[in-house]
Symmetry: C2
Subunit: 503 residues, 2 copies
C-alpha cells in the first residue's frame, strides 16, 4: 500500500469511527434516552457532527487525497483503492463546498422547524409551519448553490446527496413512464367491487406475541441477532452503527397487525444490507457503504413486499401465525388473509399506503418539492397545489393539511430530494427480485419452505458486497442486464391487481 | 467572566461532553451491545479516550489555564472560579505527567490481563494470571513514578487518583483504629449461637416481581426516572453520563432476594449523588464532579445499609413485600425478616459480604496491594499471603484461589489504590447518617413513613451541591463537625451486633 493512501485510509477509518459513535448516540436518543437528557444530548450530537465535519474537510486531508490520487493514478480504475479514492474525492469535494456556518444554521433552523411542524400538524394549522418551511427552503437553496455543478439544477445538487448519479432529468424520464400506467391501474382497482377483508388486520393482537413474532420473522429471513438488536421507538428505523452492530426498531399497535410485522420486515431488509456490507474489510471507505438510498430502500421493499406479501411466504408462515393467534385467525382462510394484506386503496397518509398507491404519494412530493426549491411554487400555495394533485393522482379530496401537506417530517428536517429514492427503491426491488427468480430457479419453493439463505446470499454476492462501487443504475444493469425501468414494478402490481381484484 | 477563564470553561465543557459520550458508549457496551460488536467497540472507546486525553493535555490548554490563574489570582480562593481553576490545575498536572504511550500500554495490557484473569478464575489456576499481574504491576509502578510527588510513596500517587488528599499514612492511621475493634466484633459474633434465618432470602422470588420492586424502591428513595434508567447488566453499576442522564443497572437472581434489592439500593445511592450534583450549572468543572470515590461510596452505602437494613425502613416496606411475595413471606415475622437481612458472618467473597465483615476484606486487599506495588510481596507469594491474612482477620481457611486472591477484577484492570475507598465510604456513611439524624430530628419517623425527601435534600445541600469543592475529609469535618473516624461505623456495627446477636 502506498504511503499517502494508507494515511488516507487511517484518517477515513478514524472519521468513520467517530461517525459510528454519532450513530450510536442517535440510536440511544431515539430508543433509550429519558426526557431530562434530551437537551444535553443535542450538545453531544452537535459536537460529534462538528468533529466529523472538521476532519472531513481539513485541508491536510485534501492534500493526502491529492497525493494518493497521484500515487495510484496508474492503477486499474476498477481496483479497490481507486474506487475508494474516486468516491472519497466525490465526498470531499461536496463537503468542502459547504461552509460550517451554513451547516450549523441548517441544523439549528431545522431543529426549530421540526418543533413548529409538530405543532402545526397537531393543530392542523399550516400557517404555523409556513414561515419555517420558507426558512428551510432558503437555506437548502443556499446549500444547493454551494453544491451545484455547472450543468446541474439546484434540485440536482440536493438529490446527488442521496442518490449518486441521478438528476431531475433522469428521474423525470423514469417517473413519466411510471405515472400514467400506475394512475390507470389504481383507478381500475378503485372502480371495482371487490373489497379486501381488512377487518382481519384490526383485531386485537397482543404486544408480547407480536414481539415474539417480529423476532422470529427477522431471524427467519436472516437478521443476525448476535450482531444487532431489535428495540422499540416512536418512528421505526434501522441503523448500521458499526461492524457487527446493526440495530432496528419497530413499534407495536395491539389493534393493527401490519405496523410491527411489515415494519419489521422492512427494517430487517435494510439491516440485512447493513449486515452484509463488507464492513470488516473496508470500514471507513465507500466500499463498506450503501450504494445510495434507492438501493437501500430496494432491500427493505424486497423483503417487506415482494417476499412479505407473497403467496409463497404465507404458505409457509400463515400456519404459524394461525397457531400463534388462534383466537383471531382460526376461522380465517388463507386466501382471505392474503387478500387483507394485499389491499390496494387510495388513502391520505404515505406511510400507511399500500405498495401500489405509495408511488403516487412519492411522485406528488417529488414534483412539489422541485417547484418549491426552484421557486415555481410559493410556500403559501403549497396546500392548494398538494390537494389538487392529490385529487388528480389518487382521486381523493384531502380533508385537511394534517392529512395533506403537513403529514411528513422530511421538509421540516431539510430532507428535500429524499422522497424520490423511495420509489426508486420499489423499482429496483422489482427488478432485483425478478433477477433473483431467474438466478435461483426454485426460489418460490424455497420461500414456501421458509428457506431464505440462498436469496440472502444472492443479494449479498450481487448487491451488498459492492458497497458504493456502483451507482444504483450501474448496479441494476450489472445484476439484471437491463436498465432501470418501471416495467417490472408495474407488471408485478398489474399481475397482483388481476389476481386480487380481477382488473 | 475573564477572557482566559471563559476559554478555559469552554474547553473543559467540550472535553466533558466528549467524556460523556465515552460514558454512554461504555454503558451501551455493558448493557446493550451484542457479541459481534465488541471488537469494534474497543476501537470506538480507544478513540474517544485518546481524544479526551489529547485535549486534556494540550500545551495550549496549559497556557489558557496559566493565564486564567493569573487573571483570577486576586479573587477569593473560595470563589467558584478559583475552585474550578484549583481543581483543574490538579487534574492537568497529573494528566500531563502521563505519556500517551504509557496510557495506551496500560489500556492494552489490562485488557489482555482481564481475559487472563477470567480464565484463571474460571479454572482456579493462579499461574495463568500471575505473569499478567506482574506486567500490570510493572506498568502501574511506572505510572506511579510519573505521578508521585517528592514526598509521597508510589502507592500514594495511585491513591490520589481515586481519593484526593489521602495517603498511605493517613489511611493507615484510620484503618489501624478500625481493624482491632472490627476483628474482635466479628470474632464475638462468630462465636455466638444465634443464626440468622437466611433461608428466607433464598426462596423463589420471580424476576418480574423483583423488577417491579427495584423500580418502586429506587423511585421511593428519589431516583428520577425521567432523568435516568434502570437496566440489567452482568455487573451492576451506576454511571452519571450527562446532565439529566444518570443510569443504573442491576441483575436478578430468582433464588436470592438480596442481589437485586440491595444492589439497586446501592446503585441508586450513587445515582442520587449524580442526579443532585450541580451538572446543569457547572458542567465540565470539578464543581459538577463527585468529591472522590470514598464520598461516592458513602452515598451508596448510606442507602443500601444505613437505610436499607434499618428497622425503620422495613417497618414501612415489609408489609409491601409481604403482600408482593405472599407465598414466600406471609408466615414470616418482621423480626425474622430483619435478622435475615442483617446477618453478619465471615465469608470468602467480598461482593457477597455483610456490612461488617466487608471492611476486613478491604483491609486485607489494601495491605496486600501496597506490598505488591512496593515490591515487598512477589506475585507468586500472593496466594499464600492472602490466605494467611484471611485466616487471621476472618477466621476462615480459603479453599482455593478463585474464592481467594482471584475473586476481584480490580488488579487485572489496573485499579490499584481503589479498594480502600470502599471502607472510607462506610465510615463516611456512618458519620453522615448520624449528622443527618441530628439535623432532622424526626428522621426515624419519616423513614417509618416512607418519606425520604428531607433526607435526600439534606444530602443534596450538605454534600452533593459542593461537587469536588472539598476533599472527603474536609466535607466530613464541615458536615459533622468531626474528623473522619471509624467510631461511628464501629458503634453502629456494635449496636447491631448487640441487637441481633446479643454480643
Amino acid at each position: 500500500m502506498t504511503n499517502s493512501f494508507s494515511t488516507l485510509l487511517e484518517t477515513l477509518q478514524e472519521i468513520a469511527t467517530l461517525g459510528s459513535v454519532d450513530s450510536l448516540v442517535n440510536w440511544d436518543e431515539q430508543v433509550m434516552l429519558k426526557p431530562a437528557g434530551i437537551e444535553f444530548r443535542a450538545k453531544q450530537s452537535a459536537l460529534l457532527a462538528r468533529m466529523v465535519h472538521e476532519r472531513l474537510t481539513s485541508p491536510r486531508l485534501g492534500e493526502v487525497l491529492a497525493a494518493a490520487e497521484a500515487e495510484l493514478s496508474t492503477e486499474d480504475p476498477a481496483s479497490d483503492s481507486r474506487i475508494v479514492i474516486r468516491e472519497f474525492r466525490r465526498d470531499y469535494d461536496r463537503a468542502v463546498r459547504l461552509p460550517s456556518s451554513l451547516i450549523a444554521q441548517i441544523a439549528h433552523t431545522t431543529s426549530l422547524a421540526q418543533s413548529a411542524w409538530v405543532e402545526a400538524r397537531k393543530n392542523n394549522h399550516f400557517a404555523t409551519f409556513a414561515p419555517w418551511l420558507g426558512k428551510v427552503l432558503d437555506l437548502k437553496r443556499q446549500e444547493a448553490s454551494c453544491l451545484r455543478t455547472s450543468t446541474g439544477t439546484l434540485y440536482d445538487a440536493l438529490l446527488e446527496g442521496y442518490e449518486p448519479g441521478e438528476t431531475v432529468a433522469s428521474l423525470n424520464q423514469i417517473f413519466s413512464e411510471l405515472k400514467p400506467r400506475l394512475v390507470a391501474l389504481i383507478q381500475r382497482i378503485a372502480g371495482c367491487d371487490r373489497q379486501a377483508p381488512i377487518h382481519l388486520l384490526h383485531q386485537h393482537y397482543p404486544s408480547n406475541l407480536q414481539e415474539q413474532l417480529t423476532r422470529d420473522v427477522a431471524g427467519l429471513i436472516g437478521f443476525d441477532q448476535q450482531a444487532g438488536r431489535i428495540d422499540v421507538s416512536v418512528h421505526p428505523f434501522c441503523t448500521g452503527i458499526a461492524p457487527g452492530d446493526t440495530r432496528i426498531t419497530t413499534r407495536y399497535d395491539e389493534h393493527f397487525f401490519n405496523d410491527a410485522f411489515f415494519g419489521t420486515l422492512h427494517e430487517t431488509g435494510h439491516a440485512l444490507y447493513e449486515q452484509q456490507l463488507p464492513k470488516h474489510t473496508h470500514f471507513g471507505t465507500a466500499l463498506a457503504e450503501p450504494a445510495g438510498l434507492g438501493i437501500h430502500e430496494s432491500q427493505s421493499r424486497l423483503w417487506e413486499n415482494f417476499i412479505g406479501r407473497s403467496r409463497a411466504f404465507w404458505s409457509f408462515f400463515y400456519p404459524k401465525i394461525q397457531t400463534m393467534f388462534a383466537p383471531q385467525l382460526k376461522d380465517t382462510s388463507f386466501d382471505d388473509w392474503l387478500f387483507s394484506i394485499n389491499q390496494v386503496r387510495p388513502s391520505f397518509i404515505r406511510t400507511e399506503a399500500d405498495e401500489a398507491t405509495y408511488n403516487l404519494h412519492i411522485l406528488l412530493r417529488f414534483e412539489l418539492e422541485q417547484q418549491l426549491i426552484n421557486g415555481d411554487l410559493s410556500v403559501q400555495d403549497l396546500p392548494i397545489a398538494w390537494n389538487e394533485r392529490f385529487k388528480a393522482y389518487l382521486g381523493l379530496t384531502v380533508p385537511d393539511d394534517t392529512q395533506g401537506c403537513l403529514q411528513d417530517v422530511h421538509w421540516s428536517a431539510g430532507l428535500m430530494g429524499y422522497f424520490p429514492t423511495y420509489s426508486l427503491g420499489n423499482m429496483y426491488a422489482a427488478q432485483f427480485f425478478n433477477a433473483a427468480k431467474q438466478a435461483i430457479p426454485d426460489l418460490d419453493r424455497q420461500i414456501c419452505q421458509g428457506q431464505f439463505k440462498p436469496l440472502l446470499e444472492w443479494l449479498g454476492v450481487n448487491i451488498h458486497v459492492h458497497g458504493r462501487r456502483f451507482t444504483g443504475r450501474q448496479l441494476v444493469r450489472r445484476v439484471t442486464g437491463k436498465e432501470l425501468s418501471p416495467d417490472d414494478l408495474l407488471n408485478y402490481l398489474e399481475n397482483k391487481a388481476q389476481e386480487y381484484y380481477g382488473v
